[in-house]
């Protein structure tokens, strides 16, 4: 077991390194970035922006460094300057980037494109001394945000959004377990009954329903139409209100009160619950049907064990084993949040943060969320494999 864990951990680290490298490369290849917006801004204004300004901004976002150097600084916080061994400086002159690139219009395949053709002034290792840098992802420093909270640490941004996402995800996950598991079990025990038919049809429709559409329908009915009809309605948008509002039945609702926050949670939670209940109940149902066909269930029945006991003791416990895997995978979701649901309901959580960061080219934030999600996904995989062997002695690790 120990050996197995060590080998798996090594594999995990490798996978994480590659996924970090791949996502970092992907985002570096993306056009735009902080410079683009600035250039467009200054083109329209009267103030001229000169080469020095551009070089300074490029340096601020480390865009003047080569990809490998930038990646290594982002990942591990090195190199921060020349090595010094025994008072002597080593590698000081190594070129690590280009401060002012020479750009020229090149004709490729009949089209004129602007390309970097050379370097006017390069950056050497010595120039890195004194530059502000993060201590590296592996030391838990995600650097500073570029756009959303300019020059504030990414971690600050994440800490401010994470509680909102957790609040949503924990409630939704618990509720969908409470609903989905019994639903699936009961459907399986009463296979082909009216209940089973309705439940399977419902979960089929639920899993075909696009979350964004379902969210909008809820807002349409529960917020807008109910309010117009003069009934008690559900406020939508954001996790807490700004000013007090009154409605029939509940009277005056103070902003940020428990009632206000609960009301605002109902719709996003409903959307999340619908989706997971649809998936989970189908899964539990088919797993339970599989188990009910097994010989040991027939044996138990023929021994004269009461049906209730057969189902609870013999069938259910075995049917729920594979389900552990799926539940554990709710872990990365609980961090990353539900991108679409949070966007529809304007919920200030991690999912919406990701979309905002991507839309505003705030790559440090994007990378941080991606990387933490990747770590959690990999951990969840390991956890579910290990849990499997714990709850099901028939399975051995190899």
């Amino acid at each position: 077991m120990i050996n197995y864990l060590i080998r798996r951990s090594a594999q995990m680290l490798l996978v994480l390194f590659f996924s970090a490298l791949a996502s970092y490369a992907l985002l570096s290849a993306a056009p735009g970035g902080p410079l683009q917006g600035l250039l467009q801004q200054t083109q329209s204004s009267t103030r001229k922006i000169d080469k020095e300004d551009i070089a300074r901004i490029r340096a601020q976002f480390e865009l003047d460094l080569y990809f490998s150097v930038r990646f290594s600084r982002w990942l591990a916080g090195v190199p921060r300057g020349p090595l010094s061994i025994g008072g002597r400086e080593l590698l000081g002159g190594v070129v690590v980037g280009c401060r002012i690139p020479i750009e020229a219009v090149v004709r490729i395949g009949g089209e004129d494109t602007l390309q970097t053709v050379g370097c006017e002034q390069s950056v050497s290792m010595r120039d890195l001394v004194g530059r502000r840098t993060s201590r590296g992802i592996i030391r838990g420093d995600f650097g500073n945000s570029w756009a959303i909270l300019r020059d504030r640490p990414v971690s600050e941004l994440i800490w401010s959004r994470l509680p909102r996402t957790l609040q949503l995800q924990v409630v939704a996950t618990l509720l969908s377990l409470l609903i989905g598991v019994p639903l699936g079990l009961y459907s399986a025990v009463r296979q082909y009954s009216r209940f089973d038919y309705i439940a399977t049809t419902g979960s089929f429709i639920g899993s075909s329903m696009p979350t964004f559409f379902f969210g909008l329908i809820l807002i349409l009915v529960l917020s807008i139409l109910f309010k117009r009809a003069g009934w008690a309605y559900l406020p939508s948008g954001d996790a807490a209100g700004v000013r007090a509002y009154t409605m029939p039945l509940l009277g005056r609702v103070e902003p940020k009160s428990l009632l206000d926050q609960t009301l605002r949670m109902i719709m996003p939670v409903t959307v999340l619950v619908l989706v997971s209940v649809a998936g989970w109940s189908r899964y539990v149902r088919s797993s339970m049907l599989e188990v009910l066909r097994q010989d040991y269930v027939r044996t138990a029945r023929s021994k004269g064990v009461r049906e209730r006991r057969v189902i609870v003791r013999h069938a259910m416990r075995n049917a729920l084993i594979p389900f552990i895997t799926i539940v554990v995978f709710a872990l990365p979701g609980a961090f990353g949040g539900a991108v679409i649901t949070e966007t529809v309901f304007n919920w200030p959580g991690m999912g919406r943060l990701f979309v905002d960061a991507l839309g505003r080219n705030d790559y440090p934030v994007t990378m941080a969320i991606l990387l933490i999600s990747a770590v959690l996904t990999v951990l969840a995989t390991l956890l579910s494999d290990v849990l499997y062997t714990v709850v099901d002695p028939r399975i051995r690790v190899s």
């Binding site: 993306a30 075909s208 909008l216 807008i224 839309g359």
Partner: protein, 332 residues
């Protein structure tokens, strides 16, 4: 329905003498799944609408009628007497016309992406399963690696990059021109459509590769394959006559379920602002506009939202019916 139409002739031509009744058996089993039959009819109807856009709509997709925004359904235009069957949007563009043009675009994206992803996935899976060994190891490790990455964020990143620099991926001109002619959009918009197809395909082939590999692996040990090999049938012929027809059923089922996913994914990308951009009409970006105006015009989201939902549901039901008809043992 598109999937059935493609599947059946192949099953027929690859057939042994008894296969004719096999086909009838499949059809009869499919017909027993009532919702699947209804869904096929609905899909045929939607595809016909999308196919005959030009003769069905009074307006161009991007035609703006100034001063007549948010018109109610069945409003007659004061200028030229044309009818806005489903009303107009915030710019005074005709919803009915845009919905149909969007159907053409969204459905083509889904169909082409599914075909592309299935082709790539089936090829990789078949190679991996048939040849095994180091090739299998490398390909499957790579697939598993990609499967650990959360899908939606990666799709968002890819499309945000590809939409910002659409020239990054070279696409042959005839494809761009063909699509722009077929969808009645400009070449620039067609390029965007191709990018979104690539984004959807980029992760779509993974599941199919695993599926095909599994099928091929289990087929390799089957008696009839062994028998064929023993009687001196060539490898190519074994793959063509025995492997592919047998792997066809799961692929057709997964493709029709995939259509549902792709319609939703494309709409989701557009809805989040990382898909095909306005003014090119797609159900997703139309839906995302209605969100901003739904407090004044609450019924608007239903116009682009219902087609997405109906198509997704119908594709899923057809997939379900096909699974029952082709091979009830399939677990997809």
């Amino acid at each position: 329905m598109a999937a059935t139409a493609e599947a059946l002739p192949v099953l027929e031509t690859e057939a042994m003498p008894v296969e004719q009744s096999q086909l009838r058996l499949i059809l009869r089993r499919f017909a027993r799944h009532r919702l699947a039959v209804v869904s096929s009819a609905v899909l045929v109807f939607i595809f016909l609408l999308a196919g005959a856009v030009r003769s069905l709509v009074p307006y161009d997709a991007t035609e703006i009628e100034v001063g007549n925004s948010f018109a109610a359904p069945f409003t007659v235009s004061p200028k030229d007497g044309r009818t806005h069957y489903l009303g107009t949007d915030h710019l005074g563009r005709d919803y009915w016309s845009r919905i149909l043009y969007a159907a053409r675009i969204s459905l083509t994206i889904a169909v082409v992406s599914v075909i592309g992803a299935t082709a790539v996935g089936a090829l990789v899976g078949a190679l991996s399963g048939y040849f095994g060994g180091a090739l299998d190891d490398i390909l499957m490790r790579f697939v598993e690696f990609l499967l650990t990455i959360p899908t939606l964020p990666i799709l968002l990143i890819l499309s945000s990059i590809l939409l910002q620099s659409p020239k990054a991926v070279p696409v042959p001109d005839f494809i761009i021109n063909g699509l722009s002619g077929f969808m009645y959009i400009s070449a620039l918009e067609a390029r965007q459509v191709v990018m979104i197809m690539l984004v959807l395909m980029s992760l779509g082939w993974l599941g199919i590769a695993r599926l095909t590999r599994g099928v091929v692996l289990s087929l390799k040990t089957m008696n009839f394959v062994e028998a064929a090999r023993a009687s001196g049938v060539s490898t190519t012929r074994i793959i063509l006559r025995h492997m592919i027809p047998n792997a066809f059923a799961p692929l057709v089922v997964s493709a029709s379920l995939g259509l549902a996913d792709y319609v939703i994914s494309e709409a989701a990308l557009s809805f989040l602002g990382f898909g095909i951009q306005d003014p090119t009409p797609t159900w997703g970006n139309m839906l995302s506009f209605t969100e901003s105006y739904m407090f004044e015009h609450p019924w608007l989201p239903l116009i682009p939202g219902l087609p997405i939902f109906i198509c997704a549901l119908a594709f899923n039901y057809v997939g379900d019916g096909l699974r029952d008809a082709l091979d009830p043992r399939l677990q997809l």
